[in-house]
Symmetry: C2
Subunit: 339 residues, 2 copies
């Protein structure tokens, strides 16, 4: 898939189809946020640079294609509604990125300066609002209120998850259950809905919609674990965004939870000392090496791997198709990615 | 209204009806934002303190009542959909208040500490997002996609207006046309829609809907001018929120635009000197007195007064009713209020 899946020969026809469809989604996105105000258009042009993996629209389109495949031949029946739903998912995601960068005081996003860094927090807050509003507006052009209702339910959940995360800031005793409650809401809920809406739009059978919704939820949790791992042990140049922000912002993620659950007294006290000095020279590297040495990074990777295995098992419940094979590869790419 | 209109005898029956309806709107609001997460509920309880004039829901309900009045008797036919629409308008407004307080770095809102002051900017940004999301979700429960679409259109306009305002920060040469373009989008568009949706929900004739929509737009512009005047020459204790923020944030409002358009060289240079030192001791008082002495405050008040006169003229295009009389009083209250 553009961004996450390597362009290998066995995916050729569907990969090319998908690339064309994603371009169409991007055109819908850009056309919809266009304004009669040049000041607004400048900002919208800037955030086009953030476009990266296009994970959510890719999932909507692939679940649309795989939801009711017509044998082994390449399906060609994505509708404009699939593309609109895909654009809505990406727009909501883009709004959360813009606001997350304000919250995290990040300077870099996909190797471009963040809106908050470039134009200040106020502009970034308002631009995020503008994108949320446009997402709901675009969605309502489909004329199907139940879709608006479900997207609203999901964004409620997403925001509640983010609020729960901020509520637990600097809480060094946060447990795994709370961590999963946060990331299921803030990340997996939207990814799951993007999958399910794609399948439903193709009038897939309900068992297929359920399987793809479950696939999305599991994949979403794995995706967030990988994101959290990259924030701790990734390379900023490769990842393309400011790293180490989770600890600076007092967000405890899975490797750290594993670490505190299993480390001996001396590693614990060294870690607490490092955490107290977060931001100082060399600390992030030392934290990373403690996490690696204690096995916490490996355990978190295993958790993500196990979630991906479960996600792939969900795929076995739907008919085989080129789209399903791409969804399968995508699940692996989510946890092997380095960006 | 509760909040803006004095409880005078001639309004007794409709005032009492409206007070009961506003309570019902408030219950819908609170029930809808309730979460299974205590951390989220604490925040929602806090913002209940911001509830003030309830201008937007009042307008939806009154336009619902006045849109198709049945003679002089008190109409009793507000539906649950009217109340839901009223709650949606208030929820969108509340979201903008929470984000505005982040943008303005305000500490005080309706004499209560702001969310950003109490819990930090991150929580305030996320709580605003949560309210926007809930507003769209609540709206979609009506099952009428065209309402979602129009609310989305209006919030797009609202956000674009706010972005335009931030774009013109510290622009001392901003003209009246730009000022009006900003406030029509950021304030009047939602107020107008709140009026129009109330009337439409009562299946009022289209000429009545048009008149009430126009009334709302004119009233909205006048309301914002009065807000801007209070920020310059109001009393913080009476207004109940942090004042003087417009100048500190480089927002030029109508009195200042008038001032720069008419002041002599020496007043101009004194004003520029005061503006350069905004935030210093005594400056706001001196700025206010320069604006008053130069007639700029009076001219802005006259503009607001003229808009209210036009708004009232729109009311003369709809049948007489107790609701219309209350809307007429409300128009006056908008520019005579001191809070």
């Amino acid at each position: 898939m553009p961004g996450l899946i390597h362009h290998v020969e066995r995916h050729r026809p569907i990969h090319d189809l998908l690339a064309g469809e994603l371009d169409a989604v991007d055109r819908i996105f850009r056309r919809h946020v266009a304004s009669d105000l040049p000041a607004v258009n400048d900002l919208c042009r800037h955030i086009a640079k953030y476009q990266g993996k296009m994970l959510r629209p890719t999932l909507t389109l692939l679940c649309g294609l795989g939801g009711r495949p017509e044998g082994a031949v390449l399906p060609q029946r994505l509708s404009e509604a699939h593309r609109v739903l895909a654009a809505v998912g990406e727009m909501i995601h883009m709004a959360t990125l813009v606001h997350d960068d304000v919250l995290d005081e990040s300077d870099l996003r996909r190797n471009a300066a963040t809106v908050n860094h470039l134009r200040g927090n106020e502009t970034a807050v308002l631009l995020g609002d503008y994108l949320i509003s446009n997402a709901f507006h675009l969605c309502s052009t489909l004329g199907r209120p139940e879709i608006n209702r479900r997207i609203g339910e999901t964004t409620n959940e997403l925001c509640a998850g983010e609020l729960l995360q901020v509520h637990h800031r600097d809480d060094w005793s946060i447990d795994e259950a709370t961590y999963f409650a946060i990331i299921e809401r803030k990340t997996a809920s939207l990814i799951s809905l993007c999958c399910r809406l794609g399948a439903e739009q193709s009038e897939a059978e309900s068992s297929v919609c359920d399987a793809l919704g479950a696939y999305g939820r599991l994949l979403g949790v794995a995706f967030q674990i990988q994101d959290d791992l990259l924030d701790l042990v990734g390379e900023e140049r490769v990842v393309g965004k400011s790293l180490g922000r989770d600890l600076e912002k007092g967000k405890l993620t899975l490797p750290m939870i594993h670490f505190f659950g299993s480390a001996g007294a001396s590693s614990r006290s060294e870690m607490l000392e490092c955490l107290a000095g977060v931001g100082g020279t060399g600390r992030p590297a030392r934290i990373a090496s403690l996490l690696v040495a204690g096995g916490a990074v490996r355990t978190a990777r295993e958790t993500a791997f196990s979630l991906v295995r479960q996600a792939r098992a969900e795929l076995s419940r739907i008919p085989d198709s080129p789209a399903r094979r791409l969804l399968d590869d995508l699940a692996c790419a989510v946890i092997t990615r380095e960006y």
